[in-house]
């Protein structure tokens, strides 16, 4: 053997040895640190049992106020897996949910609250609730590589979504969870469950990337109506590539990035007419502010499971009047008979805090509020319908009968209807989305009933939304914190004319100078 050859062999051995060593060192924490069930139990009892129950049956004290309800660990049925349908999750699958939570539910992520070792211990303890884990755990499903995203691919994905895989039946034509089968969906325990709103990928349980979506479609979401497409692939009904096309199309239904947090919606100035309805194409060019909404859990009757998780707001004014457009996802225009099974499921499966449940579906609600008078300094009215010293001006809309009214309030449940402006409204519902427009003069006709708006100033603004199908009403629903609307100052004409005049003058003077110079030289 030549020196060169020996060197090669030695190098190879060294590299092999270092690889083994590296692998060993990398695996060392896992090897040395056995999962600690005792620590897992202590952490579980402290942080998890309130919802999931001391014995892991998903029956903690808070469970009856939640929908979706907390997982029952004793059946070991887990929604978010990388393993085949019906199989146990891997430890990594469980750890992912402990880390990141379930955005479509009340389950928070624990990444920032518990250390990695503690989270492993919790996973180990959760597994101990079910005998199924005694038989070992399966391997993740292998998936083919994703094809490149193309326009044709997205079109194919849409066709499959609508006609072949028929996602549309539950998720709806535009993916907002309003398909024909959606109102009757239940989870394995018979509790009502919503088809995911596919236009908000930041709320997807298990993650919103194309890869995450592909995995959900491939292996299903156990415990829910979402089936696995593994058998359809095995049977040659659809190909893996086609499944990727569906995943890519589903991903395309959401924005590229989750909505940015912003506090102020800008009401741009427009010359002439304001949009004449919520569906006026003029709104398409107006920037929308996304308002996250949360349950009204501060004042009786509270509501812990709001259906609406966000609201898009647009605003325009023309110096005389102002138009606000609201858009939010709601699978039904309540009341809707088809959704009675869902409503019935909500009222029978959840405890109504503070007051009895509604007996039947009511309408959907929207309210926007402003301080009745511009706030002095930083003092704002209480965000829930104001307070005795700081009344709010509210514009309230309901879906059935379709009506809007304005008035004042000094606290939840104190709304007094009145006429303080020339308020008009329009509302439209399609494919699981409400769009509502309020239009009125900037200046109130009665300042005791309505607020006035001034270009160049910002006005605090807060929101309320309720879904009648979800057993919500005008106090049990979703609220926002205070935001603001800023009315642009229309630019005076001189702003546009002055630069042109200046340019012309400069050019003219330059020309004079040149001409004079040419004369002198000749």
């Amino acid at each position: 053997m030549t020196n060169h050859g020996r060197l090669q062999v030695a190098a190879c051995r060294l590299s092999a040895a270092s690889t083994i060593l590296l692998a060993f060192v990398a695996g060392l924490p896992g090897v040395l640190r056995a999962q600690d069930l005792e620590n897992g139990k202590a952490l579980y009892d402290k942080w998890c049992a309130g919802c999931h129950g001391m014995t892991g049956q998903g029956d903690g004290p808070a469970a009856d106020y939640m929908l979706p309800r907390p997982r029952d660990f004793t059946f070991a049925i887990y929604q978010i897996r990388t393993t085949s349908n019906g199989e146990l999750p891997t430890d990594d699958d469980l750890r992912y949910i402990v880390d990141n939570g379930m955005p479509g539910s009340t389950m928070p992520g624990w990444k920032d609250k518990l250390g990695p070792g503690d989270r492993d211990d919790v996973v180990a303890y959760i597994k101990s609730f079910s005998r199924f884990f005694e038989d070992g755990q399966p391997e993740p499903v292998a998936v083919a590589r994703a094809p490149r995203v193309t326009d044709e691919g997205l079109a194919e994905g849409r066709r499959l979504f609508e006609e072949e895989v028929e996602c549309i039946k539950c998720h709806g034509a535009e993916g907002r969870g309003d398909g024909g089968s959606a109102p009757e969906l239940t989870d394995d325990d018979g509790f009502p469950i919503r088809a995911a709103n596919l236009t908000e990928n930041w709320t997807f349980n298990g993650g919103g990337s194309v890869e995450d979506i592909l995995m959900r479609i491939r292996v299903g979401v156990d415990g829910t109506p979402m089936p696995s497409n593994g058998d359809a692939i095995d049977a040659g009904i659809i190909t893996e590539e086609q499944l990727w096309r569906v995943a890519q199309y589903v991903r395309s239904l959401s924005p590229d990035a989750p909505p940015r947090r912003q506090d102020v919606v800008r009401a741009a100035f427009v010359e002439g007419d304001l949009p004449n309805g919520p569906e006026d194409p003029a709104w398409n060019d107006v920037e929308a502010l996304y308002i996250p909404m949360v349950g009204q859990i501060l004042e009786a009757p509270r509501w812990f499971a709001p259906a609406v998780d966000g609201l898009w707001v647009r605003a325009l004014h023309n110096g005389e009047g102002m138009a606000l457009q609201f858009s939010w996802d709601d699978a039904s225009a309540s009341p809707d008979e088809a959704w009675d099974p869902f409503f019935d499921g909500v009222v029978t499966s959840m405890v109504a805090p503070d007051a009895p449940h509604l007996e039947a579906q009511g309408p959907d609600h929207l309210a926007v509020q402003f301080p009745l008078t511009p706030p002095e300094g930083t003092v704002l009215p209480y965000f829930l319908a104001g307070d005795a010293r700081n009344p709010v001006y509210q514009i309230r809309w309901r879906s059935n009968p379709d009506m809007a009214e304005e008035g004042t309030a000094t606290g939840l449940g104190t709304f007094a209807s009145g006429t303080g402006s020339d308020l008009t409204h329009g509302a439209a519902f399609a494919n699981g989305r409400w769009q509502v427009q309020f239009t009125r003069s900037l200046t109130a006709s009665d300042p005791g009933v309505a607020a006035s708006f001034t270009p160049g100033e910002s006005m605090p603004m807060a929101f309320y939304v309720a879904d009648g199908t979800n057993a919500e009403d005008d106090v049990r629903g979703a609220v926002s914190a205070w935001y603001a609307v800023y009315l642009d100052v229309p630019l005076p004409p001189r702003v546009f004319i002055a630069p042109v005049v200046a340019t012309l003058l400069t050019a003219g003077l330059g020309l004079v100078v040149v001409i004079q110079a040419q004369r002198r030289s000749t």
């Binding site: 059946f75 049925i77 349908n85 019906g86 199989e87 146990l88 199924f132 072949e164 895989v165 028929e166 039946k169 539950c170 024909g180 089968s181 009757e184 969906l185 394995d188 299903g220 156990d222 829910t224 109506p225 979402m226 089936p227 696995s228 497409n229 593994g230 058998d231 359809a232 049977a235 009904i237 659809i238 099974p341």
Partner: protein
């Protein structure tokens, strides 16, 4: 070396659709050691129904015109199927009296079909480990979702005509099958540790064969009418009768 025995298993199961018997089978599929039939006795029974059968609820199948078209008088949910005083879709199995296993495995799978947006048959039995073949004869999306408690469940998308196979590894009576797309679809699978089970056909008849001589407890289950038990004694090569009576 493992010996493969090819032994006839005398097991006939009257299916929900029409009381036809399952075929005779030979054991020993897939390299598994087959178990000989334990005996030659059989129980030939019938399930009666007395009184007025409750009306089955109508199904609004408007969302699936292709399915709805198959029902001239409008689709109904066949919860209680009675004809001439005989009750179909009763799951009958032996609950005690059997010698210790192992038991012969039926060589052919149990079959359940999705046809006209209903399950056919509505009630089937399988032995632990026996294949359950789930067919979709409808040219549209069904998902077939099993919601067991002792077994692992499954939830299979069948976007068009196709077939899937599953099995259960623990006895469980009954495992509900559901379709989330069509909330009215409901079926039940009885999972038993032995092959001595049957489902009453349209004529109310059921047959359990291949039994050794002995005295057995039979349990009859119906999804809404409850369960009944009775003791039956059979002789080698003989056939005993068993009669259950449900009523409204």
């Amino acid at each position: 070396m493992r010996r493969i025995l090819a032994v006839p298993v005398l097991l006939s199961v009257a299916c929900g659709g029409g009381g036809e018997s399952g075929g005779e089978s030979s054991g020993g599929g897939g390299g598994e050691a087959a178990v000989a039939a334990l005996g030659t006795a059989s129980i030939m029974g019938v399930v009666n129904f007395s009184g007025m059968a409750p009306a089955n609820p109508a199904i609004d199948m408007a969302e699936e015109a292709e399915c709805a078209a198959k029902y001239a008088d409008g689709p109904t949910d066949p919860v209680v199927v009675v004809a001439d005083g005989k009750l179909a879709n009763v799951f009958v199995r032996i609950t005690s009296g059997l010698p210790a296993g192992p038991y012969p495995m039926p060589s052919s799978p149990s079959v359940i079909d999705q046809d006209g947006c209903l399950y056919t048959p509505r009630v089937v039995g399988v032995m632990v480990g026996q294949d359950l073949e789930i067919q979709n004869s409808d040219p549209l999306l069904h998902n077939i979702k099993a919601v067991p408690t002792a077994n692992r469940g499954f939830n299979i998308s069948q976007p068009r005509v196709m077939s899937s196979t599953r099995s259960f590894n623990t006895a469980e009576v009954m495992v509900p099958l559901e379709c989330s797309v069509h909330g009215w679809m409901q079926a039940y699978v009885g999972v038993v540790e032995h092959p001595y089970f049957a489902v009453s056909g349209a004529d109310g008849a059921f047959t359990i064969s291949g039994l050794p001589a002995g005295t057995y407890t039979l349990e009859a289950w119906h999804e809404t009418l409850g369960t009944q038990t009775m003791d039956v004694t059979v002789e080698d090569g003989g056939s005993a009768s068993a009669e259950f009576s449900f009523g409204s």
